[in-house]
């Protein structure tokens, strides 16, 4: 029995891609294998670790818990879409670099997407809110102290960027 394939148009980081996939293709696999966007990492594949977190219409979601066929018609943002338009690091990425917010980097794409959306909804988080923002993502090597610092630093960078832009 050959498996039925679906033609799906995915919009990722503002670019449309046409892929032909079986219904069971996880969105995380479609991003990595069909589109070659390997910035999205896959750790546990059951929603626990957060490495695969992407933004769907701006909201953080687990790409390992969605099927590519269900993503048609929605705007997807992956870690590759977080850089500034000129290709330089976005505020959250810059803060991670400055604060030593990553070591091996496996968990980092999920943190970056989650924090990007978190700071959009709450641009000046308290220390508690910064901790809560990343509570659903696991990091096994850097430790969370520097990641929390990076959330707070990213908020500063974003705020100063807005001032210079206006």
């Amino acid at each position: 029995m050959s498996e039925e394939l679906h033609d799906v148009r995915l919009t990722v980081n503002g670019t449309t891609h046409d892929v032909r996939v079986p219904a069971r293709r996880l969105l995380s696999d479609a991003l990595r294998h069909d589109l070659g966007l390997t910035g999205t990492h896959v750790g546990c594949e059951h929603g626990v670790c957060g490495a695969c977190t992407i933004l769907v219409d701006g909201a953080p979601m687990r790409s390992c818990l969605m099927f590519a066929v269900s993503a048609a018609g929605h705007e997807i943002t992956t870690v590759e879409g977080l850089t500034n338009p000129d290709g330089s690091l976005g505020p959250v990425q810059q803060a991670f670099a400055e604060c030593h917010g990553l070591q091996c980097g496996f968990c980092t794409p999920g943190f970056l997407t989650t924090i990007t959306a978190g700071l959009r909804d709450n641009p000046c988080p308290t220390h508690e809110e910064a901790r809560d923002m990343i509570a659903g993502n696991l990091c096994r090597c850097t430790g969370y102290q520097n990641i929390v610092k990076a959330v707070e630093r990213a908020a500063e960078i974003a705020a100063s960027g807005e001032e210079t832009a206006s």
Partner: protein
């Protein structure tokens, strides 16, 4: 860790969804997928057909009705948690929802989906049972309302038929002067609870619902029990289970501790509201 092959439909109307389910006995509804997709990936479930309801318009509603809250099948946990109307009409709903997984899971997972899924460790089935709410479902024979007391029949088993789509859930509102509270103990913030308890205090009446204590949500009546005896009185009506997460003895201890705590905070809530 990849799902087995399945057929996929993404209907644009409820009627089409019901029709698709009727044609395949081994079909499953796909809502937020936050419980179903892990089961598929681990191959603990292998349905022949998935009926994805996410693009059906009009199911993401959150409405105040007859003094309670009606939550549509596509209302995400996050939207229900953020709703000021829900918080005002039935504060127990957001109290419990804040313990459901993490924000990212709540962005996709639906409150109705967690009721149909009927996990004994889930918060919302207990809330629906304690409040005496209900689930509205649509099937080939039309609509019916399932009272919470008849909804949860076993571990991961609800009385929603395999050919039915849950359309909405109804949580009755909080009566004036009544109080509610929610407490749980989990290993880590956002994890499933080892034991959780929700309390509803209305006048003399004191009732507490428990999650993760047995296979289905259990509600006990503690009306008239002296404060010091609440935990033991609750345990007399419960049979805490043993599993890999906790022993029965540890769960019994958590029931003792949480019962007094949750009843006290529900009373404080009622006092504060007066």
């Amino acid at each position: 860790m990849k799902p087995a092959p399945f057929e996929y439909r993404r209907p644009g109307t409820l009627a089409e969804a019901v029709e698709a389910l009727a044609g395949e006995p081994n079909a499953k509804v796909l809502a937020g997928g936050q419980s179903l997709v892990p089961l598929l990936s681990m191959r603990l479930a292998a349905p022949a057909l998935l009926v994805d309801i996410n693009e059906i318009p009009g199911l993401d509603t959150i409405e105040i009705e007859d003094g309670g809250v009606r939550v549509g099948a596509l209302a995400r946990h996050a939207a229900v948690l953020a709703s000021d109307d829900v918080r005002r009409v039935q504060p127990l709903v957001p109290m419990a929802l804040s313990h459901v997984a993490h924000a990212t899971i709540r962005n996709r997972g639906t409150t109705v989906g967690s009721l149909v899924h009927a996990d004994a460790a889930a918060e919302m089935p207990v809330v629906l049972t304690l409040l005496g709410g209900s689930l509205e479902v649509e099937g080939p024979a039309g609509r019916r309302t399932i009272p919470a007391a008849e909804l949860f029949v076993g571990p991961l088993e609800s009385s929603v038929g395999h050919d039915e789509v849950a359309v909405s859930a109804y949580f009755p509102g909080l009566a004036p002067g009544a109080g509610v509270a929610f407490e749980e103990i989990a290993r880590r913030h956002g994890d499933y609870a080892l034991v959780g308890a929700a309390a509803l205090v209305e006048g003399e009446s004191v009732r507490v619902g428990y999650l993760s204590v047995s296979d289905v949500p259990s509600v006990v009546d503690l009306t008239g029990v002296a404060d010091a005896d609440l935990g033991e009185a609750a345990l007399a009506q419960l049979e805490p289970m043993d599993d890999i997460h906790a022993t029965a003895a540890y769960r019994a201890q958590l029931v003792r501790v949480l019962t007094g705590r949750v009843v006290r905070s529900a009373r404080d809530f009622a006092e504060g509201a007066r």
